[in-house]
Amino acid sequence: MDAKEFFGRRAAAYWFMDGLPELLFGVAMALGGGGMVLTRLLHVRWIGFVGLGATLLYWVLICSEGVSRAILDWLKQRVTYPRTGYVTPPARFQPDAPIKLLDAGSNVSHFLQHTIVPFLVAAPLPEVMMQSRWGAAVGLATTAAWLYWANRGEEHPYSIRSVLVLAGLGLAYAISGAPFMGASMMLGGFWLAGRGGYALARYLKTHPRSQDGEDPMPVRAS
């Protein structure tokens, strides 16, 4: 890895240091999953609307990078930039290989593939393999291991996708008859938000806001 790549990756990883992206997308995922579960399980009209709204909100956040970036930027202006500074956010997702297209390993800034694709990969598996208790377990664990291996070199080597898939598997077993996709999304969302919340708390503790004033660099007018 040359110096340019090293510092580029370091800057990209900085985007995740405060835990805000995980927190935001975790909450969005939990809402989206919760919405799906509610709509499937309870056949009451107003709950259906709430569920649909939550699912729509999730899709807007996940699919529109502009919206999610704007929200994250707004949060970071208040939390991160005054504490540890600003650096260019990671570039947009640009798949450079089919394996990465499947899991967005080339760029951790885009959560669409991070949060959706593992479920799309995992969701059909129980249908096929649920006849055998261990079939589903092995299938999902293999998927998780494969996704992790395929993206092991990325700048922020998450195991999120693996854990989400495994969490989905656990839940599929724990709640028999629950809609797999929504329930696993909800659990994955809680896990992601928990992880983000912990990272944020640690970040705030380690980097108290500086009282020095914010204009250390006299710049000539140009």
Binding site: A11, D73, M217, P218
Partner: protein
Amino acid sequence: MKDRIKELADLDRLIHEPARLMIVMILEGAGEADFLYLQRECGLTQGNLSSHLAKLEEAGYVEIQKAFKGKYPLTICKLTERGRAAFAGYSQRMIGVLGNRRRK
């Protein structure tokens, strides 16, 4: 031998200074960064970083702009084309010199 000494003597001294080299390398990789980020990454004091940035700006290697992210004012630093070219030349020269040394 003489060539190598000449190559060393021709190194861009503005970039060769460790703190400035660090700044240039960070900006080359990261795109643009603000003062606080650079300070944290380089481990320099405010005054030190400020003076190194001023030198790089004077040479036209770095562009410094005031910007606002919401209400928060940022001093954003970016490598100029000239800075990029200077760093590329510096890297080439260093690799040449060190490469020769390794082969010996």
